[in-house]
Every structure is written in structure tokens, then in C-alpha cells.
């Protein structure tokens, strides 16, 4: 039997390959634009080499994981998908991914030992490989500006430097801090005009520091049981990184980064505001274009290996990615052929020759096209020192790959943010934060023994629920007088007119809503069958979810402030834009623009408006006009150490800043109220004027009652929408600082898709549903101020 089976399979495969229809594979990546083009070409080469296989290449450049999970849940998953160490466990632990080890023998020339070992480990779970690595990206490159080094008289770094917790002038250019110091320029008032160094993101340098001191964030990166943020080395590293920015001022602080430019350290580097910045190799293609010869911004640059702790050992944070095979695939063999092609020598060489990704196979990372050589085109010769990507590779440490890490780790990073802003000391806030993270981890790890949901009970519950709803809807009809002909006719007509809505609600809305209600009593991770948890989710929310009450109150404060403000602003705008002045069409369009502008552009602009130094808002407040009317003194209680208000960066003002931002989008509300104003008959104004009513009186007695139905609409939908707001927080503050802008929906979203706790997220959603329902019913009850001209 055992001998016959492989033969049968081989025979079948041969038959399928030759006589039957082609095998179709779906292949999904999150790469976009240039990367995607390289991959698409490579897929074509794969198809040419495998005539029996047709590959559908798809790119999903945003919300990649959400879409993949939805597809897995709906059993329409792709065959092969891009994946990385931080995300694969979510799927692998739930049985959605194929183990790859069983395929190795299918391709005789495949040899896993040629891949960087720590990259393979990061993509494995309990010793089995789930993602075939494609690239590795050690964040060990110090990009340096040669012009600024020459100017300061510092020799170019060769990677043999070290760092200690203090500057070592005697070591000169072999001491990283000395170089940092030398390359920092300060103006007369001790304000830096140029910084020595910047990490690509806030945690990068701190992480490198404690990793090189030998500390780790958790006891086990794959399946942690202990969070170690209270390790004295991590505390020291956190404080050290913060001090370099706030005390020595050799690294730009958070506020200084947003002050100078848009979003990241690379842009500081291209603007020559920092002399060195640390990042992965992925910044190279953009830097080449941004700094190309002949443009005004051009300067010479290269990369050097990041330093090592004088009393420690090399270690660098890293990223990397690869391809996985979904368990749902009908063609695992062909999927493996594709995976092994794309994450093997063929795909890697293609990515390497575009300068995009360091091959995961070491021998390829040591040769052309990755390492510049005689055949490398001139524009790809920079950076010359690309060999350091291999030197760093043995020392890389991935972030914890545990499924709990996104949520638990964020508790630590929020605290780190406080230290980095200078509002707290590391040794004061890290230990308590560590306790909170540990509690959260323990709660998440607690595997409850729960029964699977019995769908018969679910069905019965559903029927009971629908019955109750129908009873509630028609209860007032019971005991009514017998219907007249007219009433019967009206009844028929009424249902005829609402029929599309009724059918649509039953078909498209009711089912998913009912299911989410059921899931709110379940433990459901989207991928595996749901388990019955009773009231567990609701109890968890009310008692031991540390974010629940905080996020609910943030949302409440936001809603009760932003909605009335927004409605008043919309009404004001609508009144202004309802006058008969010249060019009104143009004015209206201008005021409507912010509501349709790209969200990314808006976020960019608002960051510039709110930035503490050089921002528009503070420009007015601390300018001569603002000082003259005393705005600066008025805002003193909200100011930080520099004496200015850090609008988005301070806990006290961040939520208010988002409210202000929301008012700016009043254009959409304006359109609705503008339409409402058209319903006010002109003769009412004329009559009122004739009766001697002034503008105010006319507004109160004519305009307001006549547009009250529209105002009422704006208020109700405004509240409903505002309770569910979170995109501005996601784009502007990511819920911070210190959770001051963690909206309820942001919390819900993270629970649903970062932690895959959809059952719990459903419970949160239904809590929100009832809060909104209560709010709305209250407003309906108090709606006597609304005047309906057409009411009976």
C-alpha cells in the first residue's frame, strides 16, 4: 500500500499536468508598485517554466492581514501568500497554514541549510517551518552623509566602532557617541540645527541597546510566559535613548522629528538635518532617487555597520518576510513549486537585482547582483558597502512572534513613549507597565475549557430573538380598531415603498448582525469554530479589560464635544453659503474640499498645524498677536517643559486637537444643512421682515424651526457616527499619548484583527450598540423642538 500510493499520486499528477486543464494558483503579496512589478515578471518566468500552472498574481497594499483572514474564514483563501514572523503565528497556530517541511523532498535541489538560520527559526513554530523566507532586513545599517562627515572632520565609519553609556573622547571616531556629538550642531540658544543621529523609528535604537546588553523583552519569543520590561538593562536602555534626545540632544526627539518634517527619519536625512540614521536596507531605492546626482538635494552617502556595546555582543533588530502556503489550497504541490521559486534563487535574484531585498539564501547575499560588482549598473553601485548586510545577519533578533505580542507589547511601547517625551523616568513607569502587560498576557494565555457552540441552540436563540423583535414592532397594533379601506390601502402602499429596504435588511444586514450578537457570547478567533463563552466577554469588558472604561470615556468626551461643535459649524457655514453673493458655487466647493481631500494628505497637514515648534497653531498663539491678547498665558497650564503646548503630544490636549480637526470636516454636514435651508420658503422671511423681525429673530423664529428636521438628523447621525470614529486617531496619534486618544473603536479594532478575538470584539460592539441606542432614544424622546411642517 505504502509503495503503491506515491506511484498513484505521481501518475495522477502526470495526467493532470499533461492532459487535463491547467492548475490555477492565487498568489497574494503586500508589495506594491516597483516590488510588485519585479514579482509579476518573476511569476511570468515561473509560468513559462511550468506550463501546467497558471498563477493569478494579486497585490493588497493595505489591510493585508484583515483581508487574508476574511478569505480564510470564507474558504476562498489564496494558495500562496506573503507572510512575516510577526504575523504567521496567528494563522499557523490555528491550522490555516501548511507545514512546509513535508514538501522539501519534492524539489531535490532545495536545501534549507543555505538560508540564514535565524531567519528560518523566526518563521518556524515548534520546530516546523511555516513560511519560506524570501528576504532578511537587519536594521543594522547606519546611513551616513559623507559631506557632513567631511565638514566636521570625522573619518567615515568602517563599522568597527563601539558605544558605551557615555562619550569616550579618547576613542575618537571609534566611539559612536563621540561621532554623534561631533556631528551635532547647535545654535546660540543651545537648540540643535543638525543632529548627529536618528533611528528610523522610536524603539529601534533602544531595542538595539538592550539586545546588545544581553536583555530580551520576553522569556520566550515564540511562546512567552514572562514579560521582562522591568529588566534593569531595559530600563537603563530606555532612559539612555531618551536622554540622548532630551539631555544631550544628539538625537532628535519625537517633537523635533515632527517639527522638521513629515514622518520619518529618512526624510530628516535627505534634508541633511541628521548626519546618520539607522534603518534597514529597504530605504536604499528611495534614497537613490531622492539624492540622485544633479538634483539640488544631492550629496554623497554610504552605509556602515551599526556599533556594538563596548561590554556586550552584537545584536540588531530586524525584519524579514517570506511566502506561506494556505491549508485550504487544492494544489499544495504546485503551491510549493511556486513558493520555492519565488523564495528561492530565482525570486531572490530578481529582488536583489532591483536592489529591493537582501536574499534569504546566504550565498546569494554575498554575490552580485546584491553586492555591487563589475556588472552592476552605475546607479546601483550606491551604497558600496552593502556587504555589511551579511555581516549583520548572524546577529539579528526578530521581535517576539507570539500572537499575544501585538497587544501585550503595545503596553510597553506606550510607556516608552512617555519616557521618550520626557514626561516620566524609565525606572518609575516601566515596572508598573510590566506588571500590567504581565497581567494581560496571563489573562490572554489562560486557555479556557469551553464547549463548541451548538448551532441548533444558536438557531433557536436566533428565532426567539427575531420573534421578540417582531412582537415588539407590532405590539402597538394589537387591540387597534378594525381597519378602514383607506388604512388597508395605506398599509399595502407603505410596505410596497419600504419593500426594497426591508428585503435588503433581511438579506444583507440582519444575518451578519445576528451572527455578531451570537458571537458576542462566544470565544471566536475567526478561523477556528466558535466556542460558547456565555457572558464571559461582557464580564471581561466590565471587570478586567484595562482599556474598556478608558476608551469608553475617551469616546464619550469626544462625542459630546465634537458633535455639537460640528453641527454648529456646519450650520454657520451653511448659513453663510446660502446667501446670494457672487461666486457662491466656488465658495461652496472650496468649503466642501476638506471633506473629500485625501485622508493621508489631511493627516499630514494637521500634523504640521499642531506641531509645537513652527506649527501654524502655535505660530499664532506665541506670535505677537496671540501674546497681545494673552493666549500664551491662557494656555500655560497645558504647556510642556519648553513653555509651549504640544498639541498632539500631550495627554491633556491630544483629544481636543482631534476634536478641532473633526470640525474642519464640517463641509459634509454643511451640504446637508444647505439642502435643508432650501426648504425654508422665502415668503416666511418676507412676512417676518414686514412684521419687523430683525435678523436674529428671523433666525430663531423662521430658520431654526424650518430646518429643525435637518438639524435633528445631523445631531442623531452625528452622534451615531462619532461614537464609531477611529480613523483620525489611527492616522494621527495611534491612540496615544498614554491612551488619551484610544477610542473605543480603536480598541475594538485591535481586539478583532490584531489579537483575532472577534468574539470579544463583538461583545464590545454590542455594548457600543446599546450605548448609541440609548443616546438615540433619549434624543428621540426629547425631539419636541423639531418642527415638521408636514406632520399630521
Amino acid at each position: 500500500m505504502n509503495q503503491i500510493r506515491p506511484w498513484c499520486i505521481a501518475l495522477l499528477a502526470a495526467l493532470c499536468g499533461t492532459t487535463f486543464a491547467q492548475v490555477k494558483l492565487r498568489f497574494v503579496v503586500w508589495d506594491g508598485d516597483v516590488n510588485a512589478q519585479v514579482l509579476r515578471n518573476e511569476v511570468k518566468r515561473f509560468e513559462a517554466a511550468h506550463p501546467g500552472i497558471k498563477v493569478n498574481f494579486e497585490t493588497v497594499t493595505a489591510n493585508y492581514q484583515e483581508k487574508l483572514i476574511a478569505q480564510v474564514a470564507a474558504k476562498v483563501a489564496p494558495d500562496v501568500a506573503m507572510m512575516d514572523p510577526g504575523n504567521f503565528q496567528r494563522l499557523a497556530r490555528r491550522g490555516a497554514l501548511h507545514e512546509l517541511n513535508e514538501f522539501f523532498s519534492l524539489t531535490p535541489d532545495f536545501d534549507l541549510s543555505k538560508y540564514y538560520k535565524n531567519l528560518v527559526d523566526a518563521h518556524s513554530l515548534e520546530g516546523r517551518l511555516y513560511v519560506l523566507p524570501r528576504d532578511i532586513a537587519p536594521c543594522a545599517n547606519i546611513y551616513y552623509n559623507k559631506r557632513l562627515f567631511l565638514e566636521a572632520g570625522v573619518p567615515f565609519p568602517d563599522g568597527t566602532w563601539t558605544w558605551d553609556f557615555q562619550e569616550r573622547p579618547e576613542l575618537r571616531e571609534k566611539d559612536f557617541l563621540w561621532v554623534m556629538h561631533k556631528l551635532t550642531k547647535k545654535s546660540g540658544s543651545d537648540r540643535p540645527t543638525q543632529w548627529g543621529f536618528a533611528p528610523a523609528w522610536r524603539e529601534l535604537f533602544r531595542d538595539m541597546v538592550y539586545l546588545q546588553m544581553g536583555a530580551r523583552a520576553v522569556d520566550n519569543y515564540e511562546s512567552p510566559t514572562r514579560i521582562l520590561y522591568d529588566d534593569p538593562r531595559i530600563i537603563k536602555a530606555t532612559q539612555f535613548a531618551s536622554d540622548l534626545a532630551l539631555v544631550n540632544r544628539w538625537i532628535p526627539s519625537d517633537t523635533e522629528i515632527t517639527n522638521v518634517l513629515q514622518s520619518n527619519a529618512r526624510q530628516l536625512f535627505t534634508q541633511q538635518k541628521v548626519a546618520m540614521f539607522q534603518s534597514g536596507i529597504w530605504d536604499v531605492p528611495e534614497l537613490r532617487k531622492e539624492l540622485r546626482l544633479g538634483t539640488p538635494g544631492h550629496f554623497e552617502w554610504d552605509i556602515a555597520l551599526a556599533p556594538v556595546y563596548a561590554e556586550g555582543s552584537r545584536a540588531y533588530p530586524t525584519g524579514g518576510s517570506g511566502y506561506c502556503i494556505l491549508r485550504q489550497t487544492l494544489h499544495p504541490r504546485e503551491a510549493w513549486l511556486l513558493t520555492q521559486w519565488m523564495a528561492g534563487p530565482n525570486g531572490m535574484k530578481a529582488m536583489a537585482s532591483a536592489g529591493l531585498a537582501q536574499p534569504a539564501i546566504r550565498e546569494l547575499a554575498l554575490a552580485e547582483p546584491w553586492i555591487p560588482g563589475p556588472n552592476t549598473p552605475a546607479e546601483q553601485q550606491i551604497p558600496k558597502n552593502r556587504i555589511i548586510t551579511d555581516h549583520a545577519a548572524p546577529y539579528v533578533v526578530f521581535s517576539p512572534t507570539s500572537i499575544y505580542w501585538p497587544e501585550v507589547g503595545s503596553i510597553g511601547s506606550q510607556t516608552h513613549e512617555l519616557v521618550y517625551r520626557g514626561s516620566a523616568k524609565a525606572n518609575e513607569v516601566l515596572p508598573p507597565a510590566n506588571r500590567r502587560a504581565q497581567e494581560r498576557l496571563d489573562a490572554l494565555r489562560k486557555e479556557e475549557q469551553l464547549p463548541l457552540i451548538d448551532w441548533r441552540i444558536g438557531g433557536v436563540l436566533g428565532f426567539v430573538l427575531i420573534g421578540a423583535l417582531i412582537t415588539w414592532i407590532y405590539a402597538p397594533e394589537i387591540g387597534k380598531k378594525k381597519r378602514t379601506n383607506r388604512q388597508r390601502r395605506d398599509n399595502r402602499a407603505g410596505y410596497f415603498f419600504i419593500l426594497p429596504w426591508l428585503i435588503g435588511t433581511l438579506l444583507f444586514t440582519a444575518g451578519p448582525m445576528a451572527l455578531s450578537l451570537l458571537m458576542s457570547f462566544a470565544d471566536w478567533d475567526i478561523i477556528r469554530p466558535a466556542k460558547w463563552r456565555g457572558l464571559g466577554n461582557y464580564v471581561e469588558a466590565a471587570t478586567f479589560d484595562p482599556t474598556f472604561w478608558k476608551s469608553l470615556s475617551v469616546t464619550l468626551i469626544y462625542t459630546v464635544t465634537a458633535v455639537p461643535l460640528g453641527v454648529v459649524a456646519s450650520l454657520g457655514l451653511a448659513m453663510l453659503l446660502n446667501t446670494k453673493v457672487k461666486g457662491m458655487a466656488l465658495w461652496r466647493t472650496c468649503y466642501y474640499l476638506p471633506s473629500i481631500a485625501s485622508a493621508v494628505a489631511s493627516a499630514l497637514i494637521w500634523k504640521k498645524v499642531f506641531q509645537p515648534d513652527g506649527g501654524i497653531l502655535n505660530g499664532v498663539i506665541y506670535g505677537s498677536f496671540g501674546q497681545w491678547i494673552g493666549l500664551d498665558r491662557l494656555l500655560l497650564p497645558f504647556a510642556d517643559a519648553t513653555g509651549r503646548v504640544n498639541w498632539l503630544g500631550s495627554e491633556q490636549t491630544s483629544l481636543f486637537s482631534l476634536i478641532l480637526m473633526s470640525v474642519w470636516g464640517a463641509g459634509a454636514g454643511m451640504v446637508i444643512l444647505l439642502a435643508g435651508l432650501q426648504n425654508v420658503p422665502q415668503y416666511l422671511y418676507e412676512a417676518a421682515t414686514l412684521d419687523g423681525a430683525g435678523p436674529l429673530k428671523r433666525f430663531r423664529n423662521v430658520t431654526l424651526p424650518m430646518i429643525s428636521p435637518t438639524l435633528f438628523f445631523s445631531l442623531i447621525t452625528g452622534f451615531i457616527g462619532s461614537f464609531q470614529v477611529f480613523s483620525s486617531a489611527l492616522l494621527m496619534t495611534d491612540g496615544g499619548p498614554n491612551m488619551s486618544t484610544t477610542f473605543f473603536m480603536l480598541h475594538l479594532y485591535r481586539q478583532a484583527f490584531l489579537s483575532l478575538r472577534m468574539g470579544y470584539a463583538s461583545a464590545l460592539a454590542w455594548v457600543l450598540f446599546f450605548v448609541i441606542l440609548g443616546f438615540t432614544i433619549m434624543q428621540l424622546k426629547m425631539s419636541r423642538w423639531v418642527y415638521y411642517e408636514g406632520a399630521k
Binding site: G32, D33, Q37, E58, A62, N63, A70, A73, V76, S263, T270, E290, P296, L469, Y474, E477, Q487, D490, A493, Y495, P500, W501, G504, T505, T509, P512, M513, I526, L577, V581, K582, W587, R588, T589, Y591, L593, I596, A597, V600, A601, S602, L604, I605, K608, A668, V671, L674, A675, N679, P681, Q682, T689, D691, G692, F712, F713, I720, F723, F769, L773
Partner: protein
């Protein structure tokens, strides 16, 4: 109003000072609008300025700076990128936005008419149910909805983005139109009924024309919503040939390599149709409707 002692004298003086006051208020309106407009044009200015800079200038200058040498190369690149076919995406987006807008306006107007004007069994509580459908965050219904569409084979087609629009067009729009219908005097329909008209005639001949500003508003808002929808097309459309503009252009923000210059050029192009639709639509707000048969 009956307290005014001498209506004739008063109204004469009102009309003279009224003209002056009106002139004054018009000038004031212009000034206020002019002051505010800078704040509201910021996003457009920044988008256009970045779209006209080349990549190295975007990276090395402030976002407020006007380009040294404005260039249209970004627009050319966006329009001619073979991987991100702008023309195809434009076609897809137009199909989705136009058809779904038609569906929304038609069916939401019908439902709104019933909720505003017809007495039928369970109406008021069904209206609460209607409002309630807006109150549950979409995140938790996303997966079940996706599974449902996948099971009926609608994934990777435009159907999930178009068909639901023909079934009520969303609670938001029904509620909005209902509020408008409620503001239109009943005498109009009563008169039509006396002339022997049925509900459909009243709806089509009396209320639809009177509610034109509201219908335009619903049309403009839902067109814009469909045009700028991101999550819907992202989830339901897989193949590159099916993609919409809003999703297709995100490819320029992928990974660390944000291509601001291309992203902004694309965003400006995406905005233009909405601006045109709004500009045309707002004309219906120019004149108040002459209400005949008022009280």
C-alpha cells in the same frame, strides 16, 4: 407681531435700512468667507504642490513650499504606469459609483416616502430598527458579510458594492430624505389625493420634485462615498483588472517607500470628478423652492 403699533411706517423704514443692511451683510459675508477659505483650501494646496514636485524635491523641502519648477511628470507617470492602470481603475470606479448612486437615490427615496407620509402597521418601531442598523460597528459584521458574499459567489465581482445599494440605499440616506419629506406641507398630497392620485403619483409627481435639493445631497454624498470607498473594494475585489482608484493608488504608499509625489498626483486626479459632481449638484441649492399652498 401684532404688537407693532404702526406697521406702515415701520415697514417703510425697514426696507430702506434693509437694503443698506443687506449690502453690508453681503460684504461681511464675503470677508468672512475669504478669511476662512485659506484654512479650508490647505489640503488642496498641499496636495497640488506635492503633486507638482519631483521626488527629490518632495523629500528635501517643506510641504508648504511651492515647487521651484512645477512639473507634470508625476501626473504623466500616474496616468501611464502599466502596473497601476489609471484608465481601467477609472472605468471600474465610475461603474461602481454611478450605478450604486442610482440605486441609493431611487430606493432610499421610496422608503423615506413611506416612513414620512404613509401610516402603516409598525411604522414607528420599524423606523427605530432602521436607525439601529447604523449603530453596530461594521468591523464585527465584516467577516460574516464577507463569508456570505463568498458563499453566493459574489467575491471578486462588483456585486457586493452595487447590489445592496438597490435595497434601501442605507439607513443614513433614508433618514435624511424622510426628514425632508416631513418638512413639506401635507396640503400638497391631500390635494393630489382629492384629485384621485395614488401614493405613487404623490411620491413621483409631488414630493420627488419638491425634495430635489435633498435628493441631490443624497446623490452627491453617496457618489462620493462610493468613489472614495476603500475597505469595500479592497475586500471584495481581488484581481488587478477589477481594482478601483482609491485602492489602486494605495500601491504608492506601500511599505516604507511612500511615493508622496505620485500619491498626491493620483489623489488630485481622484478628487476632480467629485469636485465636478459637487459643483454641478450644488446648483440645485441656488434658489429656494417656491412653496405654493403654504399656510
Amino acid at each position: 407681531m401684532a404688537t407693532i403699533a404702526n406697521p406702515v411706517d415701520r415697514s417703510a423704514s425697514v426696507s430702506r435700512s434693509g437694503i443698506l443692511a443687506e449690502k453690508g451683510s453681503k460684504a461681511l459675508t464675503q470677508v468672512v468667507l475669504l478669511l476662512g477659505v485659506a484654512l479650508f483650501l490647505m489640503p488642496l494646496y498641499v496636495m497640488v504642490a506635492m503633486a507638482l514636485k519631483d521626488q527629490s524635491e518632495v523629500a528635501t523641502t517643506s510641504i508648504w513650499a511651492w515647487p521651484r519648477q512645477p512639473t507634470l511628470t508625476n501626473f504623466k507617470e500616474v496616468l501611464s504606469n502599466p502596473n497601476v492602470s489609471f484608465a481601467l481603475f477609472l472605468k471600474n470606479t465610475t461603474i461602481i459609483a454611478v450605478t450604486s448612486t442610482i440605486g441609493v437615490v431611487m430606493t432610499s427615496a421610496m422608503a423615506a416616502f413611506a416612513f414620512a407620509r404613509i401610516e402603516f402597521a409598525g411604522r414607528d418601531r420599524l423606523f427605530v430598527v432602521l436607525l439601529a442598523t447604523m449603530m453596530l460597528p461594521g468591523i464585527v459584521t465584516m467577516i460574516p458579510t464577507y463569508v456570505m458574499y463568498a458563499q453566493i459567489g459574489w467575491v471578486n465581482t462588483f456585486k457586493p458594492l452595487i447590489v445592496p445599494a438597490f435595497f434601501g440605499g442605507g439607513a443614513f440616506n433614508i433618514f435624511l430624505l424622510r426628514q425632508f419629506y416631513m418638512g413639506i406641507p401635507r396640503e400638497l398630497d391631500e390635494a393630489a389625493f382629492l384629485d384621485g392620485a395614488g401614493h405613487w403619483t404623490v411620491f413621483w409627481r409631488v414630493l420627488m420634485p419638491l425634495a430635489k435639493p435633498a435628493l441631490v445631497t443624497v446623490g452627491v454624498l453617496s457618489f462620493m462615498g462610493a468613489w472614495r470607498d476603500f475597505m469595500g473594494p479592497l475586500l471584495y475585489l481581488n484581481e488587478a483588472s477589477n481594482q478601483t482608484l482609491e485602492v489602486g493608488l494605495r500601491t504608492y504608499t506601500a511599505l516604507q517607500a511612500e511615493k508622496w509625489h505620485l500619491l498626491m498626483a493620483g489623489s488630485v486626479l481622484v478628487m476632480i470628478p467629485i469636485i465636478i459632481v459637487f459643483f454641478i449638484g450644488q446648483r440645485s441649492f441656488v434658489k429656494g423652492i417656491v412653496m405654493t399652498g403654504g399656510k
